[in-house]
Amino acid sequence: MYKVKVGKKILSANEEYAVKNSRLLAEQKKLCLNMISSPGSGKTTILVKTINELKGKIKIGVIEGDIQTDIDAERIKATGAPVIQINTEGACHLSAAQVSSGLERLPVSDLDLIFIENVGNLVCPSAFELGETGKVAVLSVPEGDDKPAKYPAIFAKSKALLVNKVDLLGAQAQVDFDVERVKADARKLNKSIEIFLISARTGEGFAEWCGWLLRAVEELR
């Protein structure tokens, strides 16, 4: 028996594509946000509302990742925004190569902001760099306020956290969800994370969230 030192990064193939994507986005000065959450947190509803709110102000395109089906892409298409569907055929996350092919098929030079809607999963997608400008974590109220403590990776790596479905809170609340605990746990992991309390159903918090997006697009120009 003998041992050989290798010292090689295992996901170097993914990393090469991530670097390529990141370079393309930087050259064209485009903001690209990778949305990560559990299934059912409301990512697609948030995107549809965001696109509608920002119509006439900035141009948004979407790379829609799903295991199968184009249900979400159809919902985006109805807003008029360009959308590319990528089916991962069973895989739990989008890879940088898939995003690269998505970027090739989107009219990137006409856009200001590209959203990547990752596969609904709070664990795996956070381990794969796609070359995006930043990650946005979405956590919805019914999932519970313990998620930053239990799934720290995504909260540690995100630029922003959207706490969605906050219309379920308040005096008539049917769920126990401590917003302050979520904020404190997320900030322990990530001091600079921006936290927005939103409801894609009622529109609450969208002025702040969309304002942040507009500023981020403006800063890149």
Binding site: Y2, K8, K9, I10, L11, F128, K188
Partner: protein, 116 residues
């Protein structure tokens, strides 16, 4: 669902196979290290690797996986410590003002080959 460990296993298999072919030797085990944020589950990675290594030079290989803790650096006393979410304070001076160090990458550290 195909978990992300499958992609890691595929990448491992191709790297180890290439090293084995270079030496015309049979790989018997490999050491891997990873950070917390790589979200690697040992059982899932070993299961995926076993499945895809079947009928290749890597069949039956053992994987040893080392998990590197996320480290914090205290801004008050500069102590570097292993970060625990449930106790996010510097163990030396008790300050809560710290920054997280970059997470360790997924690395294939070492391969052991049989001399037979």
């Amino acid at each position: 669902m195909l978990m992300h460990e499958t992609m890691v296993a595929q990448s491992l298999l191709s790297t180890i196979s290439a090293e084995a072919a270079k030496r015309s030797a049979k790989p018997v085990s490999a050491k891997i290290s990873c950070g917390v944020l790589n979200a690697i589950n040992d059982d899932v990675l070993c299961f995926a690797f076993d499945a895809i290594a079947k009928d290749t030079a890597c069949e039956g290989m053992k994987l040893e996986i080392e998990h590197k803790q996320l480290q914090g650096r205290c801004k008050s006393c500069a102590e570097i410590f292993e970060f625990e979410l449930c106790q996010p304070v510097c163990p030396k001076c008790g300050s809560g003002d710290f920054e997280l160090q970059p997470d360790a990458a997924l690395v294939l550290e070492e391969i052991e080959f049989s001399t037979e």
